[in-house]
Subunit: 579 residues, 2 copies
């Protein structure tokens, strides 16, 4: 793909679009639409936004992604974790229920969209690597727990119980006297039904003869049944009068298109949250897209994905929505339902648009407890406690980054949690790579091989010490090498030659070059010559652009064997060594 | 060294202290004291502090370092770059000349000391690796230029010309009409004399028969001559009345010992600057100490150095001083003058204490222009413009971090400059290591060797692709591997086996493990088996603690040759491969 098609994947697949693909995409779109309506309402509630904002965020963003995205089957829209992060971010600048709160959500989507597009254009997708796997997986688990706990107040029908985990638990504990029995009956009933659907319904449907696909679709439509049933119950019994919180009147009609007036102070406060939302959303979305694409041996292009998700967020911003990204559950449904191209996303958008036009009057009597229950069931599948144990067993270092992320997210806030995790994993990485594996080596008798003197019976010479460095040299580990050489020389007073065996060094950055110069200089002051052996071609090319080799007190040997034999023997220039 | 001696190096060298060492140390102390008196006054002025604070910072800190430090010859005290950083930091919380400003300096020293000691106790010296060589060397050069420019106003006798570089230049340009000719004569004269001393005096003294050591000592005593001469001139001609700014009355007497009342808000603002001062001071000091130690084949212990410098700063804080660190010029003088042990530092401290008791009355008529001129000459030796060119030629990536540090320091402030440099070098490092070298390899005909298919004529099989990864796998590069494998498989529809050749992989962190699981899972979905070959022992041990090998769709082969021959041939279990 070249030219325009590089940045507009639609030009590639759109050209070859046919009737057969159309019918597959249409079917998938119908199924995803049915799933997405209750999800959109629920995640908007989670973000503290009115329900229609969730629907708005499920229309234009899908169209934008279809144009710019590279995954054939990714379904974008509001997702749980990003909704939680949105609530946390815009809660800093405005109070829920105000116009400023809505405007802040729009600004957040625009900021995040702009950042993603810029990162895509400048190919900065690698920045997402800052989020190591233990950090992202710990964060998602903690966010899932936090969201589920935060929804309990809606299931119980009480007012207290939001914020950090300890605040939620404290609030709930203090409100136990105020539980609304009708709300609890609805919320608890929906929870029980959804768990039943998840665990028992599918095998039962299979047992009575349904195919696996159909059984799965029925199961995934559970929330839709719950929504319909609880609306009917509430309307029939007039439970709104009994204090059951309802979604209330939703304005029907398509989203308004336009930009709000933008307050720069709000932008300043939202920049960091927008960046974190962009990273988390991108990592999650790319991982889903990658997984689905490889099932059909398709490819996604991560840098173009940034542009696709950025475009989706900008589209969300100009249509009164809030930050969106690719969702796992809905993308799997889209894929399983047979979606072939991003056109399925466009058809889904049309479906949601029709829902905002014609379905909204029916939703006024929807209990918030129903939405809360669907959220709880959805997010608890994000909680992966086993992963914590796996990481603990695999690596204590990785575990500590994960533990800090989880504790930070639960008790100090989503942004704090993720930032702490990232900073700690960077520090730990730097710590690990600041101590590269370094071995003093000697000659395996009768061979030209050299091995670690601590592990093998090898020959050494009193006047010469050879140090093999098993990693590329760069700023994080170059000072360690200085210390190491200084220590080795200090404990071997008879040494006159130090050989650095460079067979595993793929690169030497400017910091490491400075360290090598320092080492050479210091050894020289102590009457010791520094030699290099087995320097790789590209590394040697680069060293030759400096005056390091002119100042080097010793020589550069092609092989360690040569260095071992000749370094201390008068160092004649005709012995095949290179300067 | 074990037990107490590990944390109190004085127990080691103090025990063997003899008469001969004593006389060497005493001589060095006299010479360093003479050098340190004008430096202490000058750097205090640079930090915006009264001159006696510079003297106070040259007494107790030296004693503390002598007890806890590991370098035999490092001379600690106020230094130029740290003084500039101090002025910048405490200028944020109080105005020069107020008691709050003095208190802030003390708090900064205590904070920095506390951080250094903690870093030492927890062996966190590796954190200093964050400061890559291009960043620290760019920062020192920029700080040198900034300090020199900032002192010009004292040489010219004008009031404007402080702040960032553009503010300094603007201020000076606007004050050209207000230049004080007497001040300029003194300042210009001292500058000329010091440059003369540096460039001409030493060769001249050598020519008239002085030994190199003695000639050098005379040259380095230049500032002392300048101080004495200008005091005499100012006193004789009563130039104070002509508007020449003088140091003024310095309270004589030893520093007061005690702690100020500490305002937590001030502490909050100073935490980041204190951390940066600690890092910069530590890096500079360790580098000097390391260089001097290796000349005598001695060792320093970087983690204990943190404790030594931390103790020096705490001592400075409780004796009304300000942040200190090991200085380059004075340590070299101390070394060259023959100092044998840290006792030389204690004797120097006694010398400075005597100076504060008896010399201060003589210093009231010292012109600030003299001190400014000594600062300018001293800091311009820090400016290393050639290093910029060297880094540019060696690596554009390293150069960009250096350029950002220099520009940030000059035009946005010392803290901003260093933070920008550190963040950029981390980003660039992450970028570089996010793209490890990966090669598709094939068999060199008739051998068991495998080489890059792009560089060698090798044999491959259509149903099998082997990927050799030339670096350890961790969070920064694990997603790259996912993308790479996905791309290779997508463009080779006939592939049924993927072999990852792991001969260069020294470690796999939890993120990379998750990526390998993802890759295995995705390939499996596409009907492709994943195999590993040449996995190193420690890596294999760690993998065996997970269930990755149970889920692996293919096998683990000891050699790449085996993998190439057998991976696609039915995969019998009795062929020497390990699961």
């Amino acid at each position: 793909m070249n030219g325009w098609a590089r940045y507009l994947p639609i030009l590639d697949w759109g050209r070859r679009y046919g009737r057969e693909t159309l019918s597959s995409d249409l079917l998938a779109a119908v199924i995803v639409t049915i799933m997405l309506v209750p999800q959109s309402l629920a995640y908007a509630m989670l973000a503290g936004l009115p329900p229609e904002v969730g629907l708005y965020a499920s229309i234009l963003p899908l169209v934008a992604y279809a144009i710019f995205g590279t995954s054939r089957t990714l379904a974008v829209g509001p997702v749980a974790v990003v909704s939680l992060m949105t609530a946390s971010a815009i809660g800093e600048v405005a109070a829920q229920g105000t116009t400023d709160y809505l405007t802040a959500a729009v600004i957040l989507a625009l900021l995040s969209g702009g950042m993603l597009v810029l990162m895509g254009l400048f190919r900065l997708g690698f920045v997402a690597n800052f989020l190591s796997h233990p950090v992202i997986s710990g964060f998602i688990t903690a966010a899932g727990l936090l969201i589920a706990a935060g929804q309990l107040r809606h299931v119980l029908g009480v007012n207290e119980g939001s914020g950090h985990l300890h605040e939620i638990l404290g609030g709930l504990a203090g409100s136990m006297g105020a539980v609304n029995p009708f709300t609890l009956a609805i919320g608890g009933g929906v929870l029980a039904f959804l768990y039943f659907a998840r665990i028992w319904l599918k095998p039962m449907l299979r047992a009575i003869g349904l195919g696996p696909r159909l059984a799965d679709s029925f199961t995934k439509a559970g929330p839709v049944f719950a929504v319909a049933a609880t609306i009917w119950i509430v309307s029939s019994l007039d439970l709104g009068a009994e204090g059951v919180s309802l979604v209330g009147a939703i304005p029907s009609g398509l989203p308004p298109i336009g930009l709000p007036s933008i307050d720069l102070e709000v932008v300043r406060v939202l920049i960091v949250p927008a960046f974190l939302i962009s990273l988390v959303g991108f990592v999650e979305s790319v991982s889903v897209a990658q997984t689905l694409a490889s099932k059909r041996r398709q490819r996604i292009q991560p840098d173009q994905e940034l542009i696709g998700l950025g475009a989706a967020n900008i589209a969300s911003g100009i249509s009164a929505g809030y930050p969106v990204t690719g969702g796992f559950a809905r993308s799997v449904v889209n894929f399983d339902a047979g979606a072939q191209t991003p056109a399925a996303g466009v058809f889904t958008a049309i479906g949601i648009a029709l829902a905002t036009l014609f379905l909204t009057p029916w939703l006024a009597n929807l209990p918030q407890a129903t939405l809360a229950a669907t959220i709880i069931v959805a997010v608890l599948s994000l909680v992966d406690l086993k992963a914590i144990g796996r990481v603990w067993r695999y690596s204590k270092v990785d575990f500590s980054a994960m533990a800090v992320t989880i504790a930070g997210t639960l008790f100090m806030g989503v942004e704090t949690g993720i930032v702490l995790g990232v900073v700690l994993s960077l520090l730990l990485h730097l710590y690990r790579s600041s101590r590269p594996h370094v071995a003093v080596v000697g000659q395996v008798q009768g061979t030209e091989h050299f091995r670690n003197i601590d592990r093998h019976a090898v020959e050494t010479r009193p006047d010469l010490v050879t140090i093999r460095i098993d990693e590329s040299l760069y700023f994080a580990n170059s000072r360690f090498l200085e210390d190491k050489v200084a220590a080795l020389v200090a404990e071997r007073p008879e040494v006159r030659h130090v050989v650095l065996m460079c067979s595993a060094i793929n690169a030497i950055d400017a910091s490491a070059l400075a360290s090598l110069e320092e080492i050479n200089h210091r050894l020289s002051d102590a009457g010791i010559k520094l030699h290099l052996s087995e320097v790789k071609g590209p590394v040697m090319d680069r060293l030759q652009r400096t005056d390091f080799l002119d100042h080097l007190s010793g020589r550069v040997f092609l092989s360690q064997y040569e260095a071992f034999c000749e370094a201390a023997n008068g160092c004649t220039e005709d012995s095949g060594s290179v300067r």
